[in-house]
């Protein structure tokens, strides 16, 4: 088994991903060349919709990290960051982007042309510490960029109250003011309403896409999860809606014709935490024993339905909810979400990725593991790895653990 491997995709739409990703990054470079302001921002916040509504170009350094992992650029980026003094114990997203902007960025042979330099740096806060720290380092690296430092409340989903929403709305207004001043572009509220409507439509489509995971055999697996790229980078655009519509239609057809991801589906698995971006082929590994990873937690943070009648408030609420949905900020809610998914998707076993690069998602997994066993009689196995740094992934240990786990699951189901 290799340390790094690409996934084998079965959906025709998932196979289009290379094109979809390339087009996005091409658009980012074109925007820069045409003088359209380019802003870097963390994922999972309402700034993306504001950017599209104001015809500004958003770029997501955090999303660039999986792209680097897919192209095998991370070891070189880590070397640069670690050479600067960034500890190997820090989040891989942080080390990768720091290494990239201080190393190969701007070089001749960077895949997809790399990232265009930011005119704006928008740090929303309210997420994890590494996400916030990335932007503090970017401020240092790009001193000419206009900087917005947001102040979003960090609050568990189940504890969000009106004053949290009020403060988040205030932050959105501050951001609009900043963008107007920095770029000279005014926000057209009708346009914003349209963008928010499109964003919500994407989320509705995503929910519908996820609902096909209920089918046996499943017409979608975690190996196709790259399709969420449009949810991360193109929220609020017709492009996202069109692409997700195509995905939905393909899944509908496969479900109606009972075409599964694998031919003889015996085990249905659940993945908790971020995938191993350098080894998406891992999701195909289980297939040798008739197992398929039906669902995962990570995509939930990008699909939050909105009340489109009040766009600004809707974006503020969405921003407040995104990070807690997948982090230790709301262990209780996350646990309920995992249990619900495992029930609905008829899961036989869960793979809990103990991710050295992401403490917020890893913390609380022990409680989730216990709840799965006690409430649903679903066994789980812990996989020690890292979503970015392949040095923290041992294929041999993975194989030993996972093979034994799948054998146990097959025996439990009377299939061995």
């Amino acid at each position: 088994m290799e340390k790094t491997k690409k996934s084998t995709k079965r959906l025709a739409t998932a196979k289009e991903l290379t094109r979809v990703v390339s087009e996005f990054y091409l658009e980012c470079h074109q925007a820069k060349a045409e003088g359209k302001p380019v802003g870097w921002m963390p994922p999972m916040n309402g700034a993306i919709e504001l950017f599209y509504a104001m015809d500004l170009q958003p770029v997501f350094p955090e999303n660039w990290s999986p792209v680097c992992a897919a192209f095998g650029l991370t070891p070189a980026n880590f070397e640069v960051a670690e050479g600067m003094g960034y500890s190997q114990d820090l989040c891989g997203y942080l080390r990768n982007i720091v290494g990239f902007v201080h190393g190969m960025m701007g070089g001749d042979h960077v895949p997809l042309g790399g990232l265009p330099e930011p005119d704006l740096l928008v740090s929303a806060s309210g997420g994890c510490i590494p996400a916030m720290k990335i932007f503090q380092i970017m401020e240092h690296r790009f001193p000419d960029a206009h900087v917005f430092r947001g102040d979003l409340p960090q609050v568990a989903l189940e504890h969000i109250q009106p004053h949290h929403v009020e403060y988040a709305v205030h932050q959105m207004k501050q951001l609009i003011e900043f963008l107007t001043e920095a770029t000279g572009r005014k926000l057209d509220y009708d346009r914003l309403a349209e963008v928010v409507r499109l964003s919500d439509e994407s989320c509705a489509l995503w929910d519908e896409i996820c609902s096909y995971r209920r089918h046996v055999p499943t017409p979608i697996s975690a190996a196709e999860i790259g399709i969420m790229f449009v949810l991360v980078t193109r929220q609020g655009t017709q492009i996202a809606v069109d692409f997700l519509t195509k995905v939905r239609d393909e899944l509908k057809e496969r479900a109606e014709n009972k075409i599964g991801i694998i031919e003889d589906e015996k085990l249905r698995l659940f993945w908790d935490n971020i995938p191993l971006w350098y080894n998406m082929g891992l999701f195909n590994y289980f297939e040798k024993m008739g197992a398929v990873v039906v669902a995962e937690t990570y995509s939930a943070a990008w699909s939050i339905r909105m009340d489109t009648s009040d766009p600004l408030k809707a974006l503020a609420i969405k921003t407040l909810k995104s990070y807690p949905l997948v982090s230790c900020l709301s262990v209780e809610t996350r646990k309920e979400m995992v249990l619900k998914a495992c029930r609905e998707y008829k899961i036989d076993g869960a793979l809990l990725h103990s991710n050295k690069s992401c403490v917020p998602i890893t913390l609380g997994q022990a409680d989730i593991k216990r709840a799965l066993e006690e409430e649903l009689d679903i066994p789980s196995v812990v996989i020690d790895a890292d979503h970015m740094d392949e040095r923290n992934f041992s294929p041999a240990q993975f194989q030993t653990r996972v093979d034994a786990f799948m054998e146990m699951l097959l025996e439990k189901k009377g299939l061995l």
Partner: protein, 376 residues
């Protein structure tokens, strides 16, 4: 009159056995509320009639906590959980935490799911200082006060005023002692001095105030003995919590003198002592908004001039970063901070602490080399 070391002994005893301390306070009829981080508004907890006690971890081997938390978390959070699972905090009434870092917040939730206490509450803290940020903070504080009152812990303005006064006075005395340390006029070793600071985080403030007042009298009458200038290369010690008190001896034995610090078991705990405002809640808000910033709350470039200022005021000639292993906020800032300190003529050294402490021989060698490099 007691000697300075008698006072220090009481702080030492309070730290040696966190369980006994909490059990004793509980037996006296007071509720004990734990907290992890110095951004937790202890004045409000005290005004509600409870005794805020900072949760202790301390060097130890991990056994039970491994079942609930991964190994790549800071030793403080893991050892604190180990204690909790061993029953050390069974008489704690509740746990209150201000959201600072991801690990403290996540561990708060792990505790909530596994350590049965009557009260759990986490606050969202604003990063900004604008009027809207302060208004938001006010609502978070009022929300906490409401939740406390649901548990028969009413917070009145008068009680809050009193609590602000007592904590303000404690912090002012600590600052005075700290200044004396700058000037080499405090006859306490680093271990003794930082024992006092950690002690004031766990003892009831009324008792702390008495002890500190005693220390001041003792110093003023010279009953504490002559201030001894311990010599050594003056340094600024930067990090978060230091619970392994042996490290202080190690620094001094290796030829260093801690002239100033940037620790949350140090200067960050009592700077600023208090905030101004017409109403007690505003005094509270102003104090926490002006809190000497932890790297989880501020950028390295904002903190760099503050550290440089601390070093210059205290005469520190270099900085030792004493970091809890895996501490993302501190570790992330080190490259930028280190560079800015260097430009200001302050060399730095990074030492990481693990659950069982530091590797003594190796750390001593590194410290000696660092102090020698700085020269006398």
């Amino acid at each position: 009159m007691s000697s300075l070391s008698d006072y220090v002994s009481e702080f030492t005893r309070a730290l040696e056995n966190p369980k006994e301390l909490i059990d004793d306070i509980s037996r006296s009829g007071k509720k004990v509320v734990g907290y992890f981080c110095t951004y937790t508004p202890v004045e409000l907890i005290h005004a509600a009639g409870a005794v805020p006690v900072r949760i202790s971890g301390g060097p130890m081997r991990i056994d039970r906590a491994d079942r609930l938390a991964p190994s790549f978390l800071c030793p403080y959070m893991r050892t604190a959980l180990e204690r909790a699972l061993a029953g050390d905090f069974e008489n704690l009434f509740g746990l209150i935490q201000g959201y600072t870092c991801d690990v403290a917040c996540g561990m708060f939730n792990v505790w909530k799911g596994n350590i049965p206490l009557s009260f759990y509450h986490i606050l969202s803290l604003p990063y900004g200082e604008s009027p809207e940020a302060k208004l938001f903070f006010e609502k978070e504080l009022v929300n906490l006060a409401d939740r406390l009152s649901d548990h028969d812990m009413e917070v009145s303005d008068a009680a809050l005023e009193q609590s602000l006064d007592i904590y303000g006075e404690i912090r002012r005395i600590m600052q005075w002692l700290y200044e004396k340390r700058y000037d080499g006029e405090l006859p306490l070793s680093a271990r003794e001095f930082y024992t006092v600071i950690r002690g004031i985080q766990v003892l009831p403030p009324e008792r702390t105030e008495e002890l500190l007042a005693g220390m001041v009298s003792s110093l003023e009458s010279n009953a504490g003995g002559d201030a001894r200038n311990p010599g050594g290369t003056p340094i600024l010690l930067s990090g978060s919590l230091v619970e392994d008190m042996d490290i202080f001896d190690l620094i001094e034995r290796s030829g260093g003198r801690i002239a100033a610090d940037d620790l949350c078991t140090g200067f960050r705990h009592f700077d600023p002592p208090a905030g101004d405002g017409r109403q007690p809640i505003y005094r509270l808000i102003e104090r926490y908004v002006a809190h000497f910033p932890c790297p989880s709350r501020q950028r390295a470039r904002h903190r760099a001039p503050l550290l440089i200022d601390l070093a210059h005021r205290s005469g520190a000639r270099g900085v030792v970063f004493l970091i809890q292993k895996f501490c993302t906020p501190h570790l992330t800032d080190i490259p930028i901070l280190g560079r800015e300190l260097k430009e200001a003529g302050l060399p730095s050294l990074v030492i990481e602490m693990e659950e069982t402490g530091v590797m003594e021989g190796q750390t001593a060698t590194r410290l000696q080399g660092f102090f020698e490099m700085m020269g006398d």
